[in-house]
């Protein structure tokens, strides 16, 4: 895998440390050669071209870049790509099946859980981890679990409703 950087004139091409890593992304096994300073979010967006994971603040605040690492939500702008070695990454692209939306995606559609949509992938990945651990959360528990993800449009009401909608659907389907 090749990742192309902007040349800011402050780097030479010699002595760039590169490491080879193996990881799984949305169920697919991959090998990548990465510089240690490459962030996981950059590997996902630039290297794998999976641009559903968004970069919002780039300072560990907003949660738009949330992905799952071995099932746990993590801010991918605050983890090095080399640290994905041997681990399983899930992004928003892995949610939908071949012909149908994931209940979370359906829930955000039904309950109008997004306006601009920028925070939505991070919200859904954080919610996915919550529902895996707690299939029948209260409204408070949903708000608590999403408290590391910022939304600047919706005031959160419909996001919380969307997650509760998805929880109910997932329980109904026995998934």
């Amino acid at each position: 895998m090749t990742i192309v950087y902007e040349d800011r004139g402050d780097e030479t091409t010699a002595d760039v440390p590169v490491r080879r890593i193996k990881f799984t992304i949305n169920g697919q096994k991959m090998i990548a050669e990465v510089e240690p300073r490459l962030l996981l979010s950059h590997l996902i967006r630039r290297g794998l071209q999976l641009t559903g994971t968004h970069m919002g603040c780039d300072t560990t605040n907003c949660g738009a870049c949330t992905v799952l690492v071995d099932g746990r939500p993590v801010k991918s702008c605050t983890m090095l790509a080399v640290q994905a070695d041997g681990h399983e990454i899930s992004t928003v692209e892995g949610l939908a099946g071949p012909s149908e939306l994931h209940p979370l995606q359906e829930g955000f559609k039904q309950e109008h859980g997004l306006q601009c949509g920028f925070c939505t992938p991070g919200m859904m990945m954080a919610a996915k981890a919550l529902l895996a651990e707690n299939p029948d959360p209260t409204e408070d528990e949903v708000r608590w679990a999403l408290s590391g993800n910022l939304c600047r449009c919706t005031g959160y009401q419909n996001i919380v409703k969307s997650v509760l909608w998805a929880a109910e659907k997932l329980r109904g389907s026995g998934a």
């Binding site: 490459l38 962030l39 746990r72 702008c77 090095l80 080399v82 640290q83 590391g148």
Partner: protein
Amino acid sequence: MYPSRFSYEAPRSLSEAISLLHDGGEDAKVLAGGQSLVPLMKLRFASPELLVDINNIPGLDYHRADADGSIRVGALCRHADLERSALLKDKQPVMAAAAPLIADPIVRNRGTLVGSLCHADPQGDWASVVTALGGHVVAQGPAGKRTIPVASFVTGPFQNTLAYDEIAIEAVIPAPNGTPAGGYLKLERRVGDFATVGVAVAIETSGGRGGVVSRAGIALTGVGGSTINAAEAADALLGAPLSAETMERAADLAAQASNPRTDHRGSAEYKRHMVRTFVVRILNRADGAGPAANGTAAERAA
């Protein structure tokens, strides 16, 4: 943003990690949860030449109680592990109260208690909690292990007493002699923000709740240039059962020990007042039969 260039090693044993640090000299840095270090590196406030990632070292992700009742937290135990811990809920109310208030739920999945102590941010929550509990850090270096009380481990803002080739491998909370009680309260503008004010109170009473206070610790977050160990305030609680007078006295002394600055989070006067309020609030609950003081959503809004 991305960090400046560095070399990266992910050793599989502590001894290997220590020799890498030894060879790396002052420009090497340990990477555990990375939730403070990686942002600092992205902002180029930190530019280590070598990162020694300890995440692949087995056997450091524990937290457990020893036979004598002291609690050990390994260097790779995440905040989220402590938040979900049945052991802490049962045995260590102050830590159980603090764990859900660290950063935000996503950051808690990576960040570690030991890393937070090492980072020594004056606004870090764990340093106050572990100081109030009289805990210590176990450091391992080429010459072996040594134990450092947290109160002297943190020497100033972002500074600790570790040698360049030492790794903090665990934090230890000593076993209580009496019945432990207390809590941690944090005022924050929103989840994930640094504490406007944080207060940790840990007491032990002999003969169960309502008994004579046999040990007390009070420490403050965000109201000084470093974590504040309000020892005089804690001493005011000793030797008598909790009463309105001792609580008020301790709260006044804690407020006096604080040294807050007026900033965008609030005025110095307001912060000092909140120190006082939080000390009384935690002690009132420690005295009653109710649950330990912790930060529900309503608490944070208070």
